[in-house]
């Protein structure tokens, strides 16, 4: 009975996912924020840091792109829908908060991993080789879920002004990029830098991506996967719990 109910709710979350993709993701700003901004950051470092290998920079570009795309839209869905009162309609339907959050996460996840094709293509064009494609795909899937869930945590404060949430989101996302070994290799960081980097899921995703395109990773593959799985579970559960607490304050 419980499994039937679980599958039924899972199916309903696909409706949320389709709605999100149609309304929020098939729009220019998502591509701009998700891909072009990381690309410009990449080009700035590519031009300024001639000592860094192309494999290092490409893995950073893949990490940034997946991270920015997966967290670009998900934080503003809840405040936006509360403002235009469509959230009230969703809450009046027979779906749980977990179903709602899972649907939002799925839409964000799909875009996160689809956009990753662009930096991978740039990397291939610039002469990098994917040495472990299966690991890269698994890493992309895991990273996509992890970052999408992270984006949903950012949307949990009960503010119905998307601009407020975007401000909080930017305050959290940008520093994370600079502490995650994307522009400075982890091995070159001071001890305190490595400690801070270890608290960022982006560190492990970028490190894992580095491994799959033939560069040396700082952590072991098992450590990267274990850390990403833990972050993913914690982020998703936390996102659901926080929204369960705050969603009624939005209405």
């Amino acid at each position: 009975m419980r499994i039937f109910q679980f599958l039924d709710q899972l199916k309903r979350s696909l409706g949320i996912m389709k709605k999100d993709i149609r309304i929020y993701y098939l729009k220019g700003p998502v591509v701009i924020f998700g891909f072009l901004m990381p690309l410009f950051l990449f080009l700035a470092f590519f031009i300024g840091s001639r000592n860094l290998s192309i494999e290092f920079l490409i893995s950073g570009l893949i990490g940034m792109t997946v991270f920015f795309t997966a967290t670009a839209v998900s934080p503003i869905i809840a405040p936006w829908e509360a403002q235009v009162q469509t959230l009230e309609r969703l809450i009046s339907c027979p779906i749980s908060i977990t179903t709602l959050i899972f649907g939002d996460m799925l839409a964000s996840f799909i875009f996160g991993i689809l956009i990753a094709i662009l930096p991978i293509a740039i990397g291939l064009a610039m002469g990098t080789h994917i040495t472990n494609p299966i690991i890269l795909i698994l890493g992309l899937l895991l990273g996509g879920v992890c970052f999408s869930s992270f984006g949903l945590i950012l949307s949990s404060p009960p503010s119905n002004a998307p601009s407020n949430i975007m401000m909080i989101s930017s305050l959290v996302r940008f520093p994370l990029v600079f502490i995650s070994g994307i522009f400075i290799p982890l091995e070159n960081m001071p001890y305190w830098g490595k400690i801070i980097a270890s608290f960022s899921p982006l560190t492990y995703f970028t490190d894992l991506t580095r491994y799959t395109i033939g560069a040396t990773s700082y952590y072991s593959l098992l450590s990267d996967f274990t850390a990403l799985i833990i972050f993913t579970v914690v982020f998703f559960v936390l996102a659901v719990k926080l929204h369960e607490r705050t969603i009624y304050q939005r209405l």
């Binding site: 309903r12 309609r89 009046s92 027979p94």
Partner: protein, 307 residues
């Protein structure tokens, strides 16, 4: 199950303001139940608690046999909500909105498509099914909301001011659909400001004021509870001034409407006799004389103190 809605001590407080204060009532299966009250009385807050949109701080609401707090998914599966303000997705087409609702209620695709087509046709929206909702008029949006709400073929329909501010055509279409619901075995919980609508549509009405239920009964019974507010409409063959009538006993208030006088009284029988005596003494002929029972609006005004 005789009652589809059972409300026990339902209470909601917003920042120390008691919006709904320990209300109790039941809604019987198959009836049209009107929920009336002035602005800020707690109508919409009550509907939102009954439909699981907000949580009460105290009390219970049993919807179709399920506690809306403890078993929200089961309670919501066979109900629908038509809010006052349209909340369809304006960036989606009418059809996409319908299919989204069908998916959220777990309705199989073929069944959903057949129901959506039928509903959109009944509410004259089928020709615009592929148009984005952002291009719809207010009336079209409200009709679409009704279509979306009915996609799950609900047993219990919550309507919050469904015809408020709509054009005549849309209001009429929505009312026609509402009148079909009892024949289909559906129960309607109707929140409205429109006393005429409530008086004509509802089997029973509850009047809420300052978060408390002021009265709950059949419209006719409520009207009888304030008999003292009965009035008489009279017109004479010659023009006279209202002051000429003021000496007649049992008159509470005189209002002139065209060539008629509307006279409020606490004793209809005595007033009729006095008026005929007055007409005879003044050599006037009575052209028309009607007794008027209080309207539901007058009951509402009396009970809520609203003007």
């Amino acid at each position: 199950m005789d009652h589809v809605v059972e409300v026990q001590n339902l209470t909601k407080i917003y920042n120390k303001l008691v919006a709904v204060d320990h209300i109790n009532f039941e809604v019987k299966k198959g009836e049209i139940f009107g929920f009336l009250g002035p602005n800020g009385a707690g109508k919409t807050t009550t509907v939102r608690m009954l439909t699981g949109i907000i949580k009460p701080i105290e009390g219970h609401a049993i919807i179709l046999g399920h506690d809306i707090q403890k078993e929200p998914l089961k309670a919501k599966q066979n109900i629908c909500v038509v809010p006052e303000t349209s909340n369809a997705y304006v960036d989606l087409s009418a059809w996409q909105n319908m299919m989204l609702m069908a998916e959220l209620y777990g309705i199989p695709k073929k069944e959903a498509e057949a129901r959506a087509e039928d509903l959109l046709r009944r509410l004259s929206l089928y020709q615009r099914k592929n148009s984005k909702v952002k291009g719809f008029s207010k009336g079209m949006k409200q009709r679409l909301i009704l279509c979306m709400a009915l996609i799950n073929d609900p047993v219990l329909v919550f309507l919050d001011e469904p015809t408020s501010g709509l054009d005549v055509q849309s209001s009429r279409m929505i009312r026609e659909i509402l009148l079909e619901f009892p024949k289909e075995g559906k129960t309607i919980f109707l929140t409205t400001h429109n006393m005429d609508e409530a008086s004509h549509l509802c089997d029973r009405v509850a009047i809420i004021n300052h978060g408390k239920i002021a009265a709950i009964d059949r419209p006719a019974t409520l009207k009888n509870t304030i008999k003292k507010l009965n009035s008489i409409e009279i017109s004479f063959d010659s023009a006279i001034k209202a002051e000429n009538l003021s000496e007649i006993p049992h008159i509470i208030e005189i209002r002139k409407e065209g060539d008629k006088f509307i006279i409020s009284t606490d004793d209809v029988d005595d007033l009729i006799h006095s008026l005929t005596d007055f007409a005879e003494s003044q050599k006037l002929k009575i052209i028309s004389l009607n007794t008027m029972a209080p309207s539901l609006e007058e009951v509402f005004v009396k009970l809520t103190g609203e003007v």
